[in-house]
């Protein structure tokens, strides 16, 4: 972390202390605190050739992560007219993944690459020690409406889509240790930012809310050691994404993340509650793209550089409580338009003079999602409601001019061949769809809660459909202890190389978690 960033943190802590001093003169203050957390141990076993080709016949332990996470909240009960200090919130997470000691031989990762703080080495994925969230809420409730100002390190999520990121681009994902078995907020990287949220005074059948963000803390999508575990299906974080372009090709390269940390992000969202049933939001976000949108390979020196440019994100989303007679469902939708979305080239372009390769083109992209949530009474299954969600996602690259402009690519956009020792089989495709079905319910008085996610990417251009299946079951062993068994499997055409299926290969994983919470 640069001096500039540490200066920001110091300022934040100083500001809190000053405010405490300022408000502590209030004699009526009744400060309360809360402290809750969990300790859990998680084992992930990977069947590297997929369960459909022999059920866990070639399986390896790829994670044994032990996590301590807790929240500390302080409610100072400090009021000053219409203004108040509502809350100070801290979230800590620390972890140790013993798999890097138990199977040390399987991992050929350097301890610390050290090129930038975003280039993770072994130490970064073996241990975690992070004050993930630290913010203070300064609230206003008065004649002009109500609102709050939240400075600090935090997570903000915009949107309605669950299957794929549309407008939820604010906090980049942390894919350094896991992707599928964590809560979505656990795989987000919290950022230092300032947030102002304001609602106008209540009106009959209409409400308006504004959310403003300023983010000086620029971070990328956090990957694990790109030059270490990539393409090693028996170890590491990335499988079954072992062939995700372009990282599959980075083994052996010295990879450096070049992140424009001197930039700022900012955005605004306006949400309207219209009547009692409809909520509509429109938004804009000036985004430093979290995913790499530039990758240069210096083939002579075996160096690679990942860069991140800026783009505009325009979007909107809605939810509507659909009621006809006794039929009730929630209909959700979201649209996002990116002006410079990184499209990874199926065939990186090499400059013969410099031996530098370009792996991305920046293109405008639109993503749309539509979803229905319905609670069903399925008495044969559970005395509880069974929650069901269907979601459709569509992605289109709006400018297709020269993405396919490559003599090595066939008419369907497919390219095969080798880069060094790596076999490639990829395709650029302009439009892609995905569908998902999620359901969950409760058994035995909610002591056991099963859930299932099934997603598919329909086949195109001669490739078959690919499926992701993710069943899970959680059991409350005691009021404070729980265990959780989940699996993920990728089924269908293992050679499909288009859209959302690109990179999703045959590996299956199962995880067993044991936790204590309070």
């Amino acid at each position: 972390m640069s001096m500039k960033k540490w200066g920001g943190v110091g300022y934040f802590v100083f500001a809190i202390l000053v405010m405490f001093g300022f408000f502590s003169s209030n004699a009526d203050a009744e400060m309360t605190t809360s402290f809750h957390g969990l300790f859990e141990s998680n084992l992930v076993i990977r069947d590297i050739n997929g369960m459909q080709y022999g059920f866990f016949d070639e399986a390896y332990g790829v994670q044994q992560r032990n996590t301590l996470k807790f929240d500390v909240d302080v409610y100072p009960d400090i009021q000053w007219g219409s203004f108040s200090v509502e809350k100070i919130h801290l979230t800590y997470r620390g972890a140790y993944d013993s798999i890097f000691d138990l199977r040390a031989h399987a991992f050929n990762i350097r301890d610390n690459i050290g090129l930038s703080r975003f280039d993770y080495g072994l130490r970064d994925i073996r241990f975690e020690n992070d004050l993930r969230e630290a913010f203070i809420d300064l609230a206003y409730k008065g004649d002009l409406g109500d609102g709050f100002f939240r400075p600090g390190r935090q997570i903000v999520s915009w949107g309605e889509g669950l299957l794929e990121t549309l407008n939820d681009v604010i906090n980049p994902p942390d894919m350094s240790y896991n992707l599928f078995f964590q809560n979505p907020d656990d795989v987000k990287t919290p950022l230092w930012m300032g947030r102002i949220n304001y609602s106008i005074p209540s009106m009959s059948g209409f409400g308006l809310n504004f959310d403003l963000l300023w983010v000086p803390d620029i971070r990328p999508t956090q990957n694990g050691p790109l030059d270490g575990v990539a393409r090693n299906p028996k170890a590491g974080f990335q499988a079954p994404f072992v062939s995700i372009t372009p990282f599959a090709d980075l083994k052996g390269f010295s990879v450096r993340e070049r992140v424009p940390t001197n930039e700022n992000e900012y955005g605004a969202k306006v949400s309207a509650a219209i009547g009692e049933r409809l909520n509509v939001s429109v938004l804009y976000f000036r985004d430093v793209v979290s995913d790499p949108n530039g990758l240069k390979l210096y083939l002579r020196t075996n160096q690679a550089e990942v860069t991140h440019n800026k783009q505009h994100v325009y979007g909107g989303f809605f939810s509507y409580q659909f009621l006809v007679g006794s039929f009730e469902a929630i209909i959700r939708g979201e649209i996002s338009r990116y002006t410079a979305y990184p499209i990874s080239l199926a065939n990186p372009r090499v400059n013969p003079a410099t031996f530098e390769a370009t792996a991305f083109l920046l293109k405008p992209v639109t993503k749309t999602t539509l979803a229905v949530d319905k609670d069903l009474r399925l008495r044969w299954l559970s005395k509880d409601l069974t929650k069901v969600t269907f979601e459709w996602l569509h992605k289109v690259i709006n400018e297709w001019d020269n993405v396919l402009d490559d003599p090595q690519i066939d008419k369907t956009g497919r390219v095969t061949g080798r880069i060094g020792a790596v076999k490639k089989d990829r395709r650029n495709i302009r439009e892609a769809d995905a569908f998902s079905f999620q359901t969950s319910t409760a058994w035995f008085g909610s002591k056991v809660t099963p859930s299932i996610l099934l997603a598919c990417s329909p086949g195109k251009h001669g490739d078959g459909t690919t499926w992701m299946l993710k069943p899970g079951i959680k059991w409350a062993v005691t009021p404070n202890m729980y265990t959780d068994l989940r699996m993920q499997a990728f089924l269908g055409d293992a050679n499909a190389s288009y859209g959302f299926a690109d990179g999703i290969k045959v590996a299956s994983e199962v995880t067993l978690r044991l936790g204590y919470e309070w």
Partner: protein, 440 residues
Amino acid sequence: MKIIKSIFKCIGLAMLCMLTILLGFSSSLQAAELPNAIDKKNCAQYKDFFVPAMYRAVERGDYVITPGKINFSYKHDDMFLAASAKNKGKFDVNANGDLIDKSTGKYPDNIYGMPFPNIDLKDPKVADKIIYNFDFQRYRFMASRDNIRVRWMDKRGEERYAAGYDQRLYMNGRPQGQEIGDNPNKILTYEFQNIKEPMTVRGTNTMGYIYMDNKENSNFAYVPAIRRIRQTTSASRSDPYMGSDSWMDANYMWGGKTPSMKWKYLGEKTILASFSSPDMLPANSLPDGRMPRVFPFTGPSVQMGFENSNWKGASWAPQNITYVPRKVWVIEQYPKDPYYNWGLHINYVDQESYTIWYKEVYERSGDFRTWATMIVHYSEDPKTGRNNTGDRDTSLYIDEKVWHATSTNNSADPQSFIFLPASKLNHKFFTVNNFLLLSK
């Protein structure tokens, strides 16, 4: 012949009167002569003092009843009763079951006191009126913040729990000077459940608006795993809450819209009601009117059977309870909505305080399913005379089909109050903005 007939008539009338007096007296006699404990051995003698579900529980050995006396009068305070008396003749219930102001024919914006202070059992709408009195005796609290712990229990003990705050704001039933005029969306009740622990459900918050008219409720849920507020369906008010044996409409024994049900008066009865303490607990109100919650027990709830190592009965049977005879009206409740999760409900409503002591709930098929018990204590502010009558320590829901129980418990907390004035809890608390603020 006329003289003989007259003599027979007189004798008949006299016998009828004596029989009536005897029946009434016998009830009070039995109440006075209840034993120290009623268990499966002697329960048959006292069957009339039980609601059927509870009698079966005692007969099975799940419960042992400890009758006793309370050292206070369990009724509403004088100010509330005086305000109720002034409402006599002002309100009525229309054919749809809506409460109306007789002078306007519309739902009244604010009534303080019970709308029907004099109950006439011959009135065809008496059941609706009793339930409206129940509603308005709750509304008199204006707003409440409860420290809640929901406990899921099987035969062996507690399986899981969720704890946090439950905030409610009533826009009707407020005393003079405490009205909240700013109510453009005509909301009757605001609700906000703020789950604090354990960690994996922390922040799973819900907020709901119940409207004064027949509009469906608006519901929002904060899902901490995705850090977003989402609209949820309103039909879930009759479905299990977070997988429990209770549902939102059963909160405080009845928390739904009164006109959404058909109500029918079935009769009167004397039953044994549950008090967690035989003594009054003083509670000194703060200068702004807030009344702090004091409880006769420490910890998150009244002691349950599984927490008593000497207990042989049901794990969910409440311990150290003083069971006191109370006269109740028996009120049948049936949902108008054909898709409501439940069928017949039988409520046992206290004739003095309008507390619903017990509720028996049947499935739509007619099979008995769940019974609920209200456990209370009595607190009073010695300065103002205000009290917590009608409020609960515990609502206990027992599902006899799957032999499982859930209790919703209030307990002591520095932030827990009733009679919260608008300056401390008003409609601005229940905005989407504040929901977000309190949810992470």
